[in-house]
Symmetry: C2
Subunit: 374 residues, 2 copies
């Protein structure tokens, strides 16, 4: 089957591109001397995770317990659940921890540490934990400059019910950068803040086996990971319009796109209506700090060639408006025309689909089903 025959909207994965992205990141991590524990939340599929872990130690990173359970059932045995654990999820996490080689949980608050230790004791397991550190993103994590943060690490390390693995951070603020220079500064901070905190913890007598960092933009520019043991990028498997704008990749490196059809044609306003809306592309605003007029994705031909100057001007639930910078000539882009949209944020767009059509050179060679829910 050719991709042109798919019902639309359809999620497309270019397998050649995905494999190249995976192989490049694996080489990059090896060259930088860090273990690659890819995040799998972007695609949420066993197939893509297997490609990301080819030749590696096999560890992965997930963003929900549902993902942890799905990937464990699919044979992945070393999993980091990289969101601070809700106490109400601890019992299920402890049950899963028993069935895999290692399930790492995240903690950044004494109450969560105590709840994890209590659950581990109650369930008769030893729970593996990381201390989440804030390297400037200000989403989650302890402030590495505070004395309480050292005390919390010591508390985790001292618990007989917990296996303290080390520290973990994510420089999500790289996504707010405007220039490659800014991304480089964030990447340096991600590494330095964490490595320095590891040194401080060790000096305080707290053993730190792992120093885990990583995001796709910061890894794209990193040239030295001294003090880091592990990296956890994820988006690089697919990439997206935001990564193109940040300079993490070229448009030709984006492995995920949404195939849509033209269902309305309004040359008087230089617009086409397509059958992919916010439930196919997500409402992610995209890299507005780089390009305030970026719209909701990059419109391309069905073959993936960008339509220069075109924008996804607006989205509603099932409608997308694609606007041309030039008059739309008579006879061009008729009703039924196929277009590909590279979404702003492939993690959010991919999660809207029950299935991806997997392509090699335009031929559908497979269908991958992501895990859903929590």
């Amino acid at each position: 089957m050719r991709s042109e025959q798919l019902p639309t909207p359809a999620a497309l994965v270019d397998l050649d591109v995905l494999e190249r992205n995976a192989s490049r990141m694996a080489q990059r991590a090896a060259r930088l001397g860090a273990r690659l524990r890819p995040h799998v939340k972007t695609h949420k599929t066993l197939e893509a995770a297997r490609i990301q872990t080819r030749g590696s130690f096999g560890g992965i990173t997930v963003s929900t317990l549902a993902e942890a359970e799905f990937f464990a059932a699919g044979g992945f045995a070393d999993i980091t659940y990289a969101v601070p654990i809700a106490p109400a999820r601890l019992a299920a996490a402890a049950d899963l921890a028993r069935r895999v080689e290692r399930l790492n949980l995240l903690v950044d608050h004494p109450d969560a540490a105590d709840a994890a230790a209590a659950c581990a004791r109650h369930r008769g397991v030893r729970l593996s934990v990381f201390l989440k550190v804030d390297c400037g993103y200000h989403r989650a994590g302890v402030d590495p400059d505070r004395e309480e943060s050292v005390a919390l690490a010591a508390r985790l390390a001292a618990s007989p019910h917990l296996d303290f693995r080390g520290i973990l951070t994510h420089a999500g603020h790289a996504y707010r950068c405007r220039t490659a220079e800014e991304v480089r500064a964030v990447a340096a901070a991600e590494r330095d803040v964490t490595a320095k905190f590891a040194v401080r913890l060790r000096a305080a007598g707290v053993p730190v086996a792992e120093v885990s960092i990583g995001s796709t933009p910061t890894l794209a520019v990193a040239d030295d990971l001294a003090g880091v043991t592990e990296v956890r990028p994820g988006n690089y498997a697919f990439f997206d319009a935001t990564q193109v704008a940040l300079g993490s990749c070229a448009l030709g490196d984006v492995a995920f796109s949404v195939l849509v059809r033209v269902i309305g044609r309004y040359p008087e306003r230089r617009e086409l209506l397509v059958d992919g809306g916010a439930l196919a592309l997500s409402s992610d605003p995209g890299p507005v700090q780089v390009d305030p007029r970026c719209g909701f994705g990059i419109p391309c031909t069905a073959a993936g060639e960008p339509l220069a100057g075109w924008r996804v001007a607006s989205l509603s639930q099932e409608h997308g408006i694609v606007r041309s910078p030039r008059p739309i000539a008579a006879g061009t882009f008729p009703i039924g025309t196929l277009l590909r949209i590279v979404p702003n944020h492939s993690c959010l767009a991919a999660a809207l689909f029950d299935r991806y059509a997997v392509l090699r050179g335009g031929e559908v060679v497979g269908a991958w089903c992501p895990v859903r829910g929590w």
Copy 2:
């Protein structure tokens, strides 16, 4: 089971509120003398659609062919698929049309009209069609002031393979309004543009049985629907933060919310981290034209009381940051605290869940499963 025992994030539907919303809109449509054909895309469930159609003729509106098929299988026999039909979907639509009393399709281009007629002839069915009219939203629809639009209606009406039902519009630009006054102006235009076009078509000899309009904001302010036969609001079943800002409803009328738990606590920046992110609330920017600082939803207590001045400041895939306007006092909002978030756009948030927990007074009395995909 109490809602407090649900795993989070969880989609909650307050059944009492939903029933009240449905009954009020039914009374409103009856008082205005228009038939109510509720849109079901907001919830996508048979259960809510049955509540919306209590005492009515039973017709519904859908936004995907998957919804049309799901609701037909659930006993709904009069369905309007209110997105311009993609020619590639016509064969499936024709098959479905055979199995229900009426499936209305939307057309706004001569090529689509011809494709629909050709498919109907080929499949040996008569396809029911509406002409989509643009009343100022500029998303889809013909310009009612152009001669070609009358010609297209005549072409639909003249086809032996099509059953031309009339004209249909949607004043989606009501969602961009800043004041009740502006919503009233859009509502008047929605009615007047469409009613006037119906008069023009009839004068040109084109029979127009149905004049179908409607959105939740415009219906909330409508006081006269002269010339209109049918209304198609949908969001009113659930409502959301955008409708509250537009004045379509009070916060107490919102029937849908997302239950989350506090998984991080950062009093130094007056923030809590919750386990509902963009994959639980959607990235819909909300009514920024009314309140530029609206954030990504309205934070409430687990019982649904709004937390005055609090904002959902940012979302990433599985993380939400909720910010307090005041210092977060020691001992308040501990890790594990339940909160409810009223999302900006309930249609997009609800579509992210495989199941809604249905509540009466905090007690879980059911689970509803929305249809997904296209």
